[in-house]
Structure formats: structure tokens, C-alpha cells
Symmetry: C2
Subunit: 324 residues, 2 copies
């Protein structure tokens, strides 16, 4: 059995040798740029680890893993246009380095490429994987739409926020794990438990992201701290704070977030101070713990020996306690 | 056997009852808007006619036909952003009626929906249809990229132009026909001949489009005449004219196209006059005839009784001699 680190190297290598050296150059070079810019490769690693839990042949899940990773990177290309983000993984985003049209069309091609690679799986698998991959892909779009809808919403309930991140982030991790399990020969029931494991992992991943954006160690996190506060993003922290606040406190928080005269560092410090008043960090850590527990409970129910699930459990623990 | 008109009504009905009444509303209502705005439905009509040539069960090609039509409409959503087009089929385009982000994300969802619907085909068919659909989809993106590349190209050869429209327009018609044939139980060889029929139909369709944009009857054509000239689009007419012109004539034509001081009607008349000098209309009609002949030759080679191919032959003739 391979460790997550070994699996990650396999993924990087497969991305390097993927046959995307095609023409026209202006369509495919942004794709190579996007796929070559690193990242955690968390989703394909989960696919292969999940496959290896059920079978010794991680190779049978390789196409599914690549399809998931290429799909994920397609969403980043288009999300970066929609959110007008200029940097990703320390590099200019595709729409900034080239232009919006390039990012739209190369993104489209990546989405299709993800299907091209999925379709290389063996025929019996294709018929099982295709509807799952497609449902998840559509749900990711639905999640992105909800996220954009929330921007212009005054109030978002914690329940709606969780539903949004379930769609935007959770289901793709869940699908990654489920596809891997099916490629490894898991029963439908076990594959569904693996989906449950993955979706909860996705939720805690996103909540941890929200925590780190405000409370992370800038030296470790790799991005500057407070970005979510500055762009008034509806995160787990903000949504929780607004939900717990009195009307007066809510007004204070909203005015603070909208105050254009405040320097960035001051605004971040002031909003964080309000979060601290409400113990929001602890609330978020508890939510993260809850989803971690749910993930582990799903994994425990999978009908495999414990030692076959240890790499997945360890990887999930790493995701829970990550600092970057 | 159904006539093309009957088939078109079947398609319209299927689009009306397609289950795209989903949430979030902001994601799916632009999709319903785009799919409900009419159009010739040429591609899905070809899919069902092609299926009916081989079998009496057009129903078995319905999912493929819908997938092709939804895919085609996805390309229109994104192309309209890239080309900054404000009107389509007499209605505001999605990115104008809503905004760019909506058109990007709803377009993405349509692309995925096209796979969702294709995946409803029976399992043996899916495995055959999926790689063809996917290859064609990717080639359409490649064609769109070439079309955009040509905008900043001073010289485009007629050969490169034909390759661009083969990818951008031809292969999707070809795929529509090939998928229909396979759904109808055609042999791989017949399905490939049907592809040949479709790709040539696509080429003549696009060249006819170019002719009509300059030489169409404004009362019949439905769009104003001369749009391609005003936006200096590299069409069959312009590429042929530039190819046949002396250096002096080419300079005259380019200066005319770039002249911002000329009124629209004057510019259109002047450029058309140059086209007439070179007999460009006849050159284009001859090219259209050539591809029509190639399409018919491919259709004739298909191992079916002539009467089973008559609807397709008639439909191709309609496309060749269309005035709108």
C-alpha cells in the first residue's frame, strides 16, 4: 500500500505525462499552466487511496483520479474569472496572465478533457462512474451559484452556508472517494459510505479553510491572513457571528466590514476581535470536529479490515489538523 | 418514418419537458431561456433522422439528440460572451440579459447537463457514444480558439479557414449524425460514412451562412445583412477575396474594412462591390456545391436502401438551398 505522499507523486507524474500537448497552442498552454501549478492534489490522492483500500490495484482508479483533478482545476479557472481573483498558488490566474476569453475557453476544454479521461476507464466502470461524476459536477456548479447568490444576501443562515459548501466543496471530495472505491471493486453500499466519509471531509476542509484565513499563521499558511474579512466573504466565521449577534452587534459588525476608510490591518484586527468576543474560533473548531467525527464514523462502517483504512484515516486527520 | 418537420416538433417538445426546473433558480433559468429560444434544431433533427434511417425507433437516439442540442446551446452562451454579441435569435443573449458570470456558470452547467442526458442512453450505447461526443466537443473548442486566433491574423489561408469551420461547425453536425446512426444500430463503417456526410453538411452550412450574411435577402434572412463585413470577420468570402487579390487590391480591401469614417451601408456596399469584382459569390457557391456533392456521395455509400435515406437527402438539400 502506498502512502499519501507516494500517491501524490504518482499524480504529479501522471499530470506531467498527460497528453495535453495538443494544438491550438492558445487553447492548451493555459491548461498545462493550470495543471502544472501544484496544489495539494487532495482529490485525486483520495481517489487512489480509496481504491487501494479495496484493491491492490490503484491503477484502475487512475483515470477517475485524473478526471477529478482536471475537473477541479477547470472550476478554479472559471471561479477565478467570476471572483476576479488575480493570484492562485502564488502565480497569476489564467484570466490575468492571458485574458477572460482564454480562461473561459480553456476551462471549457478542461471540463471536456475530464470526461475524455474518465471515458478511458474500462466499459463496466464507465457506466457506474459517469452518472456519479456528472451529478457531482453539476452540484459543484450549483454550489458556486449559491456562493455568488450569498454575496448579495444580507442574511445567510448557517444551514444555508453548510448546504453551499456541501455542494461547492463537499460533493467533489465525496465523489473522488466514491469513484475510487468503485474502481477498487467496492460494493455499492461501501461506496456510499465512502461518499459519506468524503462529504464530511469536504465540509471540515472548507471550515478549516475559513478558520485559517483569519486565524492561520501567516508564515505557515502561505497566503496573507484576513483576505476573507477584507472582501466580506460569507464564511463560517462571519455567518456564525451574525447568527449569534444581537441586532446592535450585527450593525456594528456590518458597518465595520463596509468601512472603506479603515486600513486593512485595522479592519482585520477589529473584525477578529468581534469574532473573539463570540468565541467564533471555538465554534468553528467544534463544527470541524463534528464533521471529522462523522467522516470517521462513516469510514468505520465500511466493511474492510481496519488496517486497509489506516491510510485514509491518517489522511483525514492530516486534513483536520492542517495549518496550510 | 417521420419528416424533418415532425422530428423538429418532437425535439421542441422534449426540450419543453426536460427536467431543468431545478434550483438554484439563477443557475437554471438562463438555461431554460437559452434552450427555449428556438433555433433550427438542425443537429438533433439530424440525429433522429439518422437513427430512423437505420431503425424505426427514433426514441433510442433521443438522449443523444438532446445532449447534442444542449451542448450546441452551451457553446452559443460562451461564444456570445467571447464575441461580445448582444442578440441571438431576436433576443438578448444570456450575458447581456443577465451578466458574464451567469453566462459562464450556466454554460458550464449546460455542458455537464449534456453529459447527464447522454449518460441516460443504454449502457452498451454509452460506451460507444461517449468518446465520440467528447472528441467532437473538444474539437468544437479547438475551432472556436482558431476562430479567435484568426481575428488577430493578417493572413488566413483558405485551407486554414476550412479547417477552422470543420472544427467549429462541421464536426458537431458530423457527430450528431454519427451518434444517431449508432443509436439506430448502424455498423461502425456506416456510422463513419454518416460522419462524412455530416461533416460536409457542416462545411456547406457554414459557407452558406457566410454567403447569406452578405448576399441574403434581408426580408427572408432574419438578421441584418453585412454584419460580418462590419466586424471584419474572416469569412469564406473575405478569405477568398484576400487570397485572389493582388497586393494593391488587398491593401484597398483592408483599408476599406478598417475605415471608421465610412457609414455602415457604404462600407457594406463597397466591400460587396470588391467581392463582386472577384466573383466571390460564385466561388463560395461552388465550394458549397462541392461539399454538398461530397456529403451526398458519403450518404450514397451507406449500406441502406435508397428510400431509407431520402429524408436525410431531402434535409441536406434544404440546408444547401436555405435562404435563412
Amino acid at each position: 500500500m502506498n502512502s499519501a505522499d507516494q500517491i501524490r507523486k504518482i499524480i504529479e507524474h501522471q499530470l506531467e505525462i498527460a497528453d495535453i500537448d495538443r494544438s491550438p497552442e492558445m487553447l492548451y498552454s493555459p491548461i498545462r499552466y493550470a495543471l502544472g501549478s501544484g496544489g495539494k492534489r487532495m482529490r485525486p490522492v483520495l481517489t487512489l487511496l480509496s481504491c487501494e483500500a479495496f484493491s491492490d490495484q490503484w491503477q484502475s482508479a487512475l483515470n477517475a483520479a485524473m478526471a477529478i483533478e482536471i475537473f477541479h482545476n477547470f472550476t478554479l479557472l472559471h471561479d477565478d474569472i467570476m471572483d476576479n481573483s488575480s493570484m492562485r498558488r502564488g502565480q497569476p490566474t489564467v484570466h490575468c496572465r492571458w485574458n477572460d476569453n482564454t480562461a473561459i475557453l480553456s476551462g471549457d476544454a478542461m471540463l471536456i478533457l475530464s470526461y475524455e479521461i474518465l471515458a478511458r476507464s474500462n466499459p463496466e466502470l464507465i457506466v457506474k462512474l459517469l452518472p456519479i461524476f456528472t451529478r457531482v459536477a453539476l452540484e459543484v456548479c450549483e454550489g458556486q451559484q449559491l456562493d455568488m447568490d450569498f454575496e448579495s444576501c444580507e442574511e445567510v443562515s448557517l444551514e444555508n452556508y453548510i448546504e453551499m459548501i456541501r455542494l461547492k466543496t463537499g460533493v467533489l471530495l465525496a465523489g473522488a472517494v466514491q469513484l475510487g472505491a468503485l474502481c477498487g471493486g467496492a460494493s455499492d453500499k461501501d461506496a456510499e459510505l465512502m461518499y459519506e466519509f468524503g462529504v464530511n471531509l469536504g465540509l471540515l476542509f472548507q471550515i478549516t479553510d475559513d478558520i485559517l484565513d483569519t486565524y492561520g499563521d501567516p508564515k505557515v499558511f502561505g497566503k496573507s491572513i484576513g483576505g476573507d474579512i477584507l472582501c466580506r466573504k460569507k464564511t463560517f466565521l462571519l455567518v456564525s457571528a451574525l447568527q449569534n449577534a444581537t441586532e446592535q452587534q450585527r450593525d456594528r459588525l456590518c458597518k465595520l466590514l463596509e468601512d472603506e476608510s479603515l486600513a486593512a490591518a485595522e479592519k482585520i484586527a477589529a473584525v477578529t476581535a468581534i469574532y473573539d468576543e463570540f468565541n467564533i474560533r471555538q465554534v468553528a473548531e467544534q463544527a470541524s470536529d463534528k464533521y471529522f467525527r462523522l467522516a470517521m464514523e462513516a469510514l468505520e462502517q465500511v466493511s474492510l479490515d481496519k488496517n486497509r483504512k489506516s491510510e485514509l484515516a491518517e489522511y483525514a486527520t492530516k486534513i483536520r489538523y492542517r495549518e496550510k
